[in-house]
Symmetry: C2
Subunit: 679 residues, 2 copies
């Protein structure tokens, strides 16, 4: 009975796509490949990415014999570790791969890429070895230390992670409790976990995989604490992989997602390591225990900016996946009635559905252009760091904090909208939307919790605002704070440039009202920090509005200044317009209170938004096609290129181990005794 | 090394709570028990609930030997089925339980209650037997059919579910494709699944558990289709549990959550059932195939209202759990600095944290009072149905649709806010926040997808608005639409009553603007349905604003009219005030555009909100205590009553099967060969 369906499925899966998607694709008004190249960062990079994807995805070793959701926690870990190890061996042993991927930067990129994520779906227990452990040695170790450890790490002889966060301490680095006390009599550091809250908690790979770690601990020498420093610490025996005496290490248990990351805990009991295991590129402890402090405290900023921009790109890639799935599904799914008596329409025809999907597509470009801008500025600034010019650092830090928070929250909210836009079927693991959400939402709290990020942005904004009031010159991204508020409505001009001006005016007004509130508290004699806390809900709002404005400006600038074909420019202009209006509509109070826009303006813009949705609807499928996401990376029954949704859902369900037998074991064990009890 | 920690844990777990929580509880300004009784629906019901909880939770059979997240998909199913069967046997066999629980309504209530949810965490494969299968027979079967099937269902001799949704058809009932064609020659119905999209998909328990189902299918007799009707269908052999020839049934695979619901698929291949298996209380097919239609089409409304109100109560119970966990954790967690140089404060002291948690507590009461109101009206109306008076039905239907959508979306959004408010630790399964979210978010799409719900509310609102314009009298909940808009600001009066008036005015303005837009499209010659679609984003907004207003009004009315002690009334008044202001602040554009409030009003209210957060902060822990959620039902390392967060997290992680050995099997299988490859 099932066989006939599966045969149909196979036949369809091989060939062309379903008529609904053919019809959509025929309507495309622009050159898809051009957008693909923009998102990849150039034509060559698109080619490189495709070569890499074909190479890895054609290898059957990366297939999961059984979808991981059916497996036990340990089986999942084991399966992902298998693939992670294979990936590295393939990389180490195959010249062709090395040619394609390049050197260390290559495998780091691979681990974090869309491809890497598809190969080890729920987290790669070896990822932090490349992404954090080796870079930490490179960035914080002396040349000798690099020579000693990097070679062994590179061949995989030792595998490490980066152990910073503790049970009781996350974002607030200074609060870490693990101690490293120098003992000059043996020239060793004594690592210790004095409390339950000092237990290292969360580092990926730490549970059962790594045998080394870079551990962040409070450095004590000569009776004085010098703050948090990095130490390279052996955790497990290199022969037996058994944890060493004085080290207690294990996994922290299951999570909402990323369950094969092997997140672990770690405790030390007066555990001794040689003095030379402190990573001493910046600070040093001499043999006698003398502490030598680093030349420049601000160097750590650079890595944080790098990581935060990387999160922006990650987040928008995840949102690309979700919106690709939901948009294709919306073109294939038919439901309900639009005109009475006519066949059920594609759900993409419903304005409410367009309103769920199209703003997400626009958001992807908004984040993309902004993150790229910060990325370019980052490269400019890191150039300057080596020349000692750190002027741009505070601005860059603020923008990267804001964009990290905005992109992770936009992406996770957008993914949930996409998931819910697929109705009940979006709840199925085989849609892959659950995994995309559970993976992406983690970025709201890691690498700087978002509320903390917003408050850092706010600190920069308020500081700039106060400087402007004193007549000082402001950095580019906040220069609008210096302008004098104009009190007339925009009334007629609603061009993109006028809307960006309206954004500036709205943010200015919120910032100035909040700054006044803050000042008022201070004037009443409150300590600045307490006054700050009493305004912090509004301060977060300032930061969010500022960062949104930044993305709007970047979007408009890029759409007008990039070299684009007419078709691409037109569709991007429409998306840009949608992005500007969508966020005005969501935050209309800000625009009305500041008189940046009038109620009539908002009504007009809402009308225009409805028209934009209708026009962009016809390009929706082509837009998500242009993200060029391989079916295997998409991993979704609902979102595949061919639109063969229902047959895929059905054949995916047939893979359930429970469907391999008609009657489950649990029947005779539990159900039958119950059912026959009263006979 | 670990042992000393575990000993500490045990010692602490037995006794008192941590000092931080003691301190919070000492500040309580009201009688907690009084609020507990309000939420339970009376003192007696609180006693009953506690008796029931103690009785079931003290039974070791309901413990999970290993937390389910570690198990394979089939092991989880098996474990929950074990507990589900045991629950019923305990119910059937133990007089004490029957005394406590009462008759059928009792076990139905138990299955759906907070307790039931705690006993079978990820879904009870037998729940739909009681919640849908038996009620369907009761509500749609003739007395003879009830006699034939209900007795056997009651003893558990047959186990059933309710099979309505299909792969291609969810909310739009008329689109169902499964056919039941009457064959008068044998007096049988022939059930058939003509397409892949007609596959029944999603019903709980259908996969491997049930042997019967009420199946909804298009009824054909004498060559004519009479729409969707219910049929009772045997799916599996009562002796062997094997699926019967012509029936193809299995499970649909893993999901974001509720993975032990045993959601299934079902296909028929010309499968014959006796004529008498059609449930014929309302419609009938006679032996010769003559169709007799039901006396009243509207009767099905009643059940839908019942189910939707039940979802409101479910959702707000889930939000109670999440906010209990996050609030207690926020009182125990210390982080960062408020005043430089002082110890890290409780994170509950941060205004941003208060802003995340306190509005959720307020929302719980907003939903509670509104759902209770609809519940009471429902009972009034169902009384009237039997007397033939259906006047209140359309209004009730609209409110229940709106509240279903509002409560499920408020609750799931609020739960995510609570989860993220716990930082990374909220991502741990042992916090139980992931499960609470994945369970609750499902309510956004099941039993009427939320966007569809909103548009049904909008249809009622627009209809009422048009009637008002014609001078017709409106039902109570929409009577404000008839009032003439007043164009002056409220300027000074910002009392609760004035704010509720502002809500009315704001909704009126949105509705009237949207109705005009709709009319304009129609005037331009567009078909009503297409014009409707072109306004549907705004129509959804009307529905949301209307439903929010309804909850505000209910909240204010209840806080003022209920018999309450002074302490309870004060704290509820503050919460009510917070609820009113919070939603004004989030939707300030609506209030400004309609001139219901001025920019100065909004500023004033924002200031008041900040003050409310600070005042309510001191009652936060006591408020969540008053929800009186048993630690076992909470099931959270972060949220337990004693606040012993870190030791619980640690000892919960020790339960991981992977932590039972130091070195995992996967090491020698995959990791060691990689690490030693280059030696």
């Amino acid at each position: 009975m099932l066989n006939d369906l599966i045969v149909v499925n196979m036949a369809l899966a091989e060939g062309t796509c379903v008529p609904d998607l053919q019809k959509e694709r025929a309507k495309c008004t622009f050159n898809k490949e051009e957008i693909t190249n923009i998102m990849d960062g150039g034509e060559e990079k698109t080619q490189f990415r495709r070569r890499l994807e074909n190479f890895f995805l054609s290898d059957p070793e990366f297939l999961d014999p059984i979808p991981p959701e059916y497996l036990s926690h340990e089986e999942r870990y084991s399966n992902e570790l298998r693939k992670a190890c294979y990936m590295i061996r393939k990389f180490n042993e195959d010249e062709k791969v090395q040619q394609i991927v390049g050197e260390m930067e290559g495998i780091r990129t691979l681990m974090g890429s869309g491809l890497g994520v598809a190969l080890t779906k729920d987290g790669n227990p070896l990822a932090l070895h490349y992404v954090m452990f080796m870079p930490a040695i490179l960035g914080q170790g002396t040349v000798e230390q690099q020579g000693l450890w990097l070679g062994r790490a590179w061949t995989g002889e030792i595998i490490g992670t980066y152990a910073q966060t503790e049970m009781g301490h996350g974002t607030f680095l200074r609060g870490l409790e693990t101690t490293a006390t120098y003992d000059p009599s043996t020239q060793e550091f004594v690592l210790h976990s004095p409390t339950i809250t000092s237990t290292k908690w969360w580092p990926g790979g730490l549970g059962k995989t790594v045998n080394y770690a870079v551990v962040m601990a409070q450095l004590y020498t000569k009776g004085k604490c010098h703050g948090v420093h990095p130490f390279i610490v052996q955790l497990r025996d290199e022969e037996t992989h058994e944890s060493l005496p004085g080290v207690s290490v294990g996994e922290i248990g299951p999570r909402l997602g990323m369950n094969t990351n092997d997140n672990g805990f770690l405790r030390f009991k007066h555990y001794r390591i040689p003095r030379t295991n402190m990573l001493m590129k910046h600070s040093q402890v001499l043999e006698d225990g003398t502490y030598i402090k680093p030349a420049n405290d601000k160097l750590a900023y650079g890595t944080m900016v790098f990581v935060r921009v990387a999160i922006c790109f990650d987040s928008h890639r995840q949102l690309q996946r979700a919106v690709t799935i939901a948009t294709r599904y919306s073109a294939v799914r038919h439901q309900s009635e639009l005109k009475p008596g006519e066949p059920e329409p594609q759900i993409l025809d419903y304005q409410t559905q367009q309103y769920k999907l199209l703003p997400q597509i626009a958001t992807i470009f908004g984040i993309h252009f902004s993150a790229r801008r910060v990325w370019d500025t980052y490269n400019e600034v890191t150039g300057n760091i080596h020349e000692g010019n750190l002027d741009l650092l505070p601005e860059l830090h603020a923008i990267s904090c804001g964009l990290k928070a905005l992109s992770s929250s936009d992406a996770s909210a957008g993914i949930e909208i996409c998931r819910l836009a697929c109705g009940g079927h979006g709840y199925l693991s085989s849609s892959n939307l659950p995994r995309i959400y559970t993976t992406t939402t983690a970025a709201n709290t890691y690498e700087g919790e978002n509320t903390v990020m917003w408050l850092q942005v706010a600190r920069y904004i308020i500081k700039s605002y106060r400087e402007a009031r004193k007549g000082e010159k402001l950095c580019h991204s906040v220069s609008y704070l210096a302008a004098q508020p104009v009190s007339t409505h925009l009334s007629t001009n609603l061009s993109n440039e006028a809307l960006v001006e309206a954004y500036k005016k709205a943010v200015s007004a919120i910032v100035s009202e909040t700054a006044e509130r803050l000042q008022k508290h201070c004037d009443q004699g409150e300590q600045f920090e307490l006054a700050w806390n009493k305004c912090s809900v509004l301060l977060v709002k300032c930061a969010q509005a500022h960062t949104r404005y930044f993305t709007c400006e970047q979007f408009v600038e890029n759409v007008e200044s990039l070299e684009l074909s007419e078709g691409v420019r037109n569709v991007l202009r429409r998306l840009c317009r949608l992005y500007l209006i969508y966020h005005i509509s969501l935050n209309q109070g800000d625009f009305l209170r500041s008189q940046a826009l009038s109620p009539e303006n908002i009504s007009t813009l809402e009308g225009e938004m409805c028209e934009l949705l209708a026009v962009l609807r016809d390009d929706a499928v082509s837009l998500v096609d242009s993200f060029d996401i391989h079916d295997r990376i998409l991993g979704s029954t609902l979102g595949c290129w061919d639109g063969n949704v229902y047959h895929r859902m059905f054949s995916e369900a047939q893979k359930s181990p429970m469907n391999q037998t008609d009657v489950p074991e649990a029947y005779s064990k539990y159900l039958r005794p119950l059912m026959k009890a009263n006979l």
